[in-house]
């Protein structure tokens, strides 16, 4: 099997795996429809209402995703990493973590490469922590928890990321 078809097969497997969970939930609905059709209908209506509630934030999510993909490139993100925990390295790692998108396992090979190139443990730990701040998901988060909560949690998340970076630098010294 050549490399291209192996990649396609892996992609198909990943796509198929994504559907396991929703199919299982739908199967539960199927079973409940047979046992308690009235309650299953109420459950579906509840889910429908929930979807309507977050429809607009979801549109905003797509718009912000598009803007980030248009103006931010992965190569620029990795270029922001510092080797040590100086102010510039901290700020750049925080920014890199916040603007990075996609599942974390996509970033691991890149982080491994960066580490081999000499990137410090602190900046990498900061990057991994600040991925918890998702600018493109802010509309959904605000819809659920409100501006005040989101602003406070975002500020504390960034602060905690720096604390994590400092701890990692201390505990991983010489490693």
């Amino acid at each position: 099997m050549n490399r291209g078809s192996a990649k396609k097969l892996k992609g198909k497997k990943d796509s198929a795996r994504m559907f396991i969970f929703p199919v299982c939930v739908l199967a539960c609905y199927g079973i409940l429809c047979a046992i308690e059709p009235h309650k299953a209908l109420i459950a579906m209506r509840t889910s429908g209402n929930l979807l309507l509630y977050i429809a607009l934030p979801l549109v905003l999510v797509f718009v912000i995703m598009l803007a980030l993909n248009l103006f931010v490139k992965p190569a620029q993100i990795v270029g922001l990493f510092g080797k040590g925990l100086r102010i510039k390295g901290i700020v750049f790692s925080v920014v890199a973590g916040i603007i990075s998108m996609g599942p974390i396992y996509v970033w691991y090979p890149l982080l491994k490469n960066l580490r081999e190139e000499g990137a410090g443990n602190g900046p990498m730990a900061i990057f991994l922590y600040t991925r918890a701040v998702k600018p493109f998901l802010l509309p959904v988060m605000i819809a659920y928890f409100g501006w005040v909560y989101v602003a406070i949690l975002t500020f504390l998340t960034v602060s905690a990321s720096i604390a994590t970076g400092c701890f990692m630098s201390v505990f991983m010294k010489g490693k």
């Binding site: 994504m18 459950a43 992965p74 190569a75 490693k175």
Partner: protein, 268 residues
Amino acid sequence: MKIAISSEGTDLKAQVGDRFGGSPYLIIADLDTGNFEAVSNPGSLGQHGTGVQTIVLIISNNVKTALTGYCSPTARRHLEANGIEIFTGLSGTVEEVLESYKKGEIRKTEAATIDHDPEKRVVDKAILIHAIQRSGNQFASMLPIFFGVVLLIGLLNTFVSRDFLAALFSGNPVLDTLLGAFFGSILAGNAINSYIIGGELLEYGVSLFTVTALIITWVTVGLVQLPVEIAALGRRFALLRNGICFILSIPIAIITVFIVNLVARRFL
């Protein structure tokens, strides 16, 4: 000035690689000192993300110019965005191509200059289409699990009683926060799902401490991805980082709720 040439082998007699991202080696030559080194091209592995690693390798080596047979539009965009010139359509040995470059015999191809004025609009359109496709793929990839979560919440809302959830959580902020952090650590997936689950748990009367800890650890602690993180960054780094993030999630959740309550009492 450093130049990277895609290569089929490790010396100057090797043929120039047909594809920038797919050639087995990159020869990095320093024009000032005359030295060169051959490095393995991570892009030749053809795995997800390795193309970006090739670009990172080029940038981290301070390369200013890349010479190759062919370069994909995406790689070209990344390279040019980082100030690296790229010359394509080249063949022969690495040594011959390098000499031609030194003599100024290599000129940029049409594609290489496409980012400049005359065709700018065409390229802008291509970038926009690429960004829409990429965003569409990212968005679509989170939808199946997202819909699953929404459907599951409908079920939980209908079939699980508030009393049951109240029994699950003790009412003690520290213990409930720990429980939220634990659930967040073992659950994985797009963060949007943690917001929806958290929002619904609040409706059920679960405390904001628990929900906040769940949201924080959902992304920062990854027990499911731990083997991958260990493989990429080492056991000590992965265990230490996840441990620190778990422990930190407790005070962060408590402080967040404390400040939110304070702001609500004072200003809202």
